[in-house]
Amino acid sequence: MTRMLVLCAALLACLLAPLSAMAVEPDEVLDDPVLEQRARDLSQGLRCLVCRNESIDESNADLARDLRLLVRERLVAGDSNDEAIEFIVDRYGEYVLLKPTVTGANWLLWAAGPIMLLIAAGVGMLYLRGRSQAAPTPEEKLSDSEQARLKEILDD
């Protein structure tokens, strides 16, 4: 409950925070372009914890900036991408990951699409086979009034 309250407060703070500072600032950018690109790629997969559904790469909240600097710090210190992410997840929990890991119940999330596609393809195939083997139903005769109406429409 307290966690929830803290989160709400943080969210409110983010709403009211000025939007003037925009995302990655020039002073954050690393000199090594390869390292910087890695930092950008990682940032896009990390959530700004106090924002509504933004990555730290897009967000202008102070906390997002702190996280961006932290990512860069870890990369400069020689961490691999995975190590840097692990470091951050250890501190902030998996809530920070915009791309959920394939662990535990999450496999359901990742497998949902493929499984559903298989089921749908199976059902669709059964239906199509049924349709291709069904005996054609004889055309229903239209009633006289329907015939008249049809003629009226076609003559329109």
Partner: protein
């Protein structure tokens, strides 16, 4: 002045009562075959619409005249706000937008009464009754939880202004289009439920339901495109799609509406896929309601802050449960009676449309699952996690790739029975062209990801497939003359498909070839980004109507020739106490140059972000083509006949 608002409030209550009558009387009449009772539906639908329109006009009037005795106007308007945003402020808030929503429900009901001339009387009465039931639910929602006509005890001197982010032309018209789309699907829903009650679905039903679905889909397309375009130029980094819950809420009905308008073709032409089409119609509107629920309840945190009120959320959840639950129950009881008639081979247009439906429906399911997963994971697995763009990009994109690959072949397969080889062979030029283009670009871009060339292949394949589709219908002689005489539905189909291809290509191209530059810039010190030279000439403070702007003047040069003077802004809205960024964009056919100005640094320089966005315009260009294709198709003679427009005979029929 204040009299008008009272009348508006009164009209709303009256409309609610009319809706209750229209919900009950025609339905009873249809069950008992009492034509007098059924006939109540039409005048009631008209009265309901006129009353709601008056009520909405009264609210708009309160906004236009800044009537600060209304609570809603105080909270969302300001006397210094430009007129356009005073008007759009009417629906730039929860209460007003719900009034617009219900206004559109009644508008569609009235349109069904106007154009439903040749519907069988029983079906028409039931459709109008179901449509009115939806209106009743939302009238009650507005009157009991979200009344826009509440008064202030002590009217303040001025208002608190509309959220500055919403003070934008793109966003002013985004909600009305979106609602036309959401609510348009209520028509398909009403037709589906009416058909279930009657226990009869035939080709005629397919023909009646399709224009409504098509119209809803077109409006959704426009609404989503406007929202995405707004995000592109307003949020300051040129993102156009964020997989935000609220975006997903509009995207899911779009996907299902696309599936529905394709499956309704099979019902219309071949009397097959009936129960599936009914199910889709129910689900598509169900997802519209889910979208409303997500936006209004604050269940999912989102960049689109709207009314986050649990009580309202529960009310909408009840509406959602009642309509989708009720319709699905009815479906379970009655679906068996819908016997399919058409017989067709495994390789046929019918099968291709089944593939289309599978891909669209499953991709919608993926979006839904991903959107809801954080809640499921927290409730059942005690894990607090996020599902963001990286997941959706990975899980959703494959379905669109499959759809794009299959589309040209599927759309050219003959009805009943086809041969895959023959259809594929007729597309050989399209295939060779697409592969060559992709290879050419792959060779030119050396060392970048394959996303760009792959997107180009897929886009070119879909577009050239659409062209071949049209061309193949012209026979051998006098092709151009025949092309002009093709039914508009054929043109609409080709244009809409080509639009999809263009959007697919543009999304891939923009993502793959975008360039970004972030730096601190001193005055009159040129810098280069992606072959262009930019110079910050000065920064000025400029007052606007209800904001103060910090405006940069950036000269954009290509090969030493000035091509644009860009004016990126930061705006401060003192009343709402909220700053916004206004990117300056040099729009060109092949790329946009997108410049954003940031803060002044200690050394006197300014932070400037520059993005080169290739093919950005093509994303929305493709959407416009999709919508245009829908409109062209809507104007086809079949629908005009189906809509009951009776014209005097126009002389003889020209010989073919």
């Amino acid at each position: 002045m204040s009299m008008i608002t009272e009348l508006g409030h009164f009209a709303l209550i009256l409309a609610f009562m009319v809706a209750v009558v229209q919900m009950i009387v025609p339905m009873v009449g249809a069950q008992k075959r009492w034509s007098g009772w059924m006939a109540v539906a039409e005048p009631a639908a008209n009265a309901q619409f006129l009353l709601t329109a008056f009520s909405f006009a009264a609210l708009t009037w309160a906004f236009v005249t800044s009537d600060f005795s209304l609570r809603l106007v105080v909270l969302n308007s300001h006397s210094a706000k430009p007129m356009l945003y005073k008007i759009s402020g009417t629906w730039g808030n929860h209460e007003g937008s719900m009034l617009l929503w219900v206004l559109i429900v009644t508008l569609f009901g009235a349109m069904a009464a106007w154009f439903g001339g040749n519907l069988p009387p029983g079906l028409r009465a039931r459709v109008l009754s179901v449509q009115s039931a939806i209106a009743v639910a939302f009238f009650a929602f507005i009157l009991f939880t979200s009344n826009p006509f509440l008064r202030m005890a002590v009217p303040p001197f001025d208002g608190q202004d509309l959220n500055p982010l919403l003070q934008d032309p793109g966003l002013a018209f985004h909600p009305p289009f979106l609602y036309l789309g959401y609510v348009g699907l209520s028509m398909s829903f009403s037709f589906a439920v009416a058909a279930l009650i009657e226990g009869r679905v035939d080709a005629a039903w397919g023909r009646w339901v399709r224009p409504w679905t098509l119209a809803a889909w077109v409006f959704l397309t426009i609404g989503i495109a406007l929202g995405s375009w707004w995000a592109y130029y307003e949020l300051g980094w040129g993102g156009f799609w964020f997989w935000d819950p609220v975006e997903n809420a509009s995207f899911m009905p779009w996907l299902l509406a696309a599936a529905l308008l394709h499956s309704a073709i099979v019902v219309e032409k071949r009397e097959a896929l009936k129960s599936w089409t009914i199910l889709l119609a129910i689900l598509a509107f169900g997802f519209s309601l889910i979208g409303t629920f997500i936006v209004r309840s604050g269940l999912l945190t989102s960049v689109h802050a709207f009314a986050n009120d649990p009580e309202r959320g529960v009310f909408i959840l009840i509406i959602l449960a009642f309509f989708t639950g009720g319709a699905l129950t009815l479906f379970a009881a009655r679906a068996q009676e819908m016997e399919a008639k058409g017989v067709f081979g495994i390789v046929s247009r019918e099968s291709a449309l089944v593939v289309n439906n599978i891909l669209l429906a499953v991709s919608c399911f993926v979006v839904f699952f991903g959107t809801m997963w954080p809640i499921v994971a927290e409730m059942f697995f005690d894990r607090k996690l996020s599902v963001g763009p990286p997941f959706f990009n990975a899980a959703f994109t494959p379905f669109m790739v499959l759809l794009g690959l299959a589309l040209p072949i599927g759309s050219m397969l003959p009805w009943k029975r086809g041969r895959l080889g023959r259809t594929a062979w007729s597309l050989r030029y399209a295939f060779v062209l697409s592969v060559s283009l992709a290879l050419l670009v792959w060779a030119m871009q050396t060392g970048q990801s394959t996303l760009g060339p792959a997107g180009l292949f897929l886009g070119a394949w879909v577009v050239s497939g659409a062209v071949m589709d049209l061309w193949s219908r012209t026979g051998r002689k006098g092709r151009l003359a025949r092309l002009a005489r093709l039914p508009r539905a054929d043109w609409g189909k080709a244009v809409a498909h080509a639009g999809l291809g263009i959007t697919i290509f543009a999304v891939a191209g923009l993502t793959a070839w975008e360039k970004e530059d972030i730096r601190v810039v001193q005055f009159n010190e040129p810098f280069e980004v992606g072959g262009y030279t930019l110079t910050l000439e000065m920064v000025e403070r400029v007052p606007g109507p209800n904001y103060i702007s910090t405006m940069g003047f950036v000269r954009l040069e290509d090969d030493g020739r000035e091509i644009a003077l860009l004016r990126p802004e930061k705006r401060d809205y003192p009343v709402a106490r909220m700053p916004t960024t206004e990117a300056a964009i040099d729009y060109r056919l092949m790329r946009d140059v997108y410049v954003v100005i940031g803060d002044q640094q200690n050394n006197g320089g300014w932070t400037v972000r520059t993005y080169i966005k290739p093919f950005a315009n093509w994303i929305w260009g493709g959407c416009i083509l999709m919508a245009l294709g829908g409109f062209i198709s809507l104007s086809d003679r079949r629908f005009r006949v189906a809509a009951g427009a009776r014209k005097a005979p126009q002389g003889g029929v020209p010989a073919e």
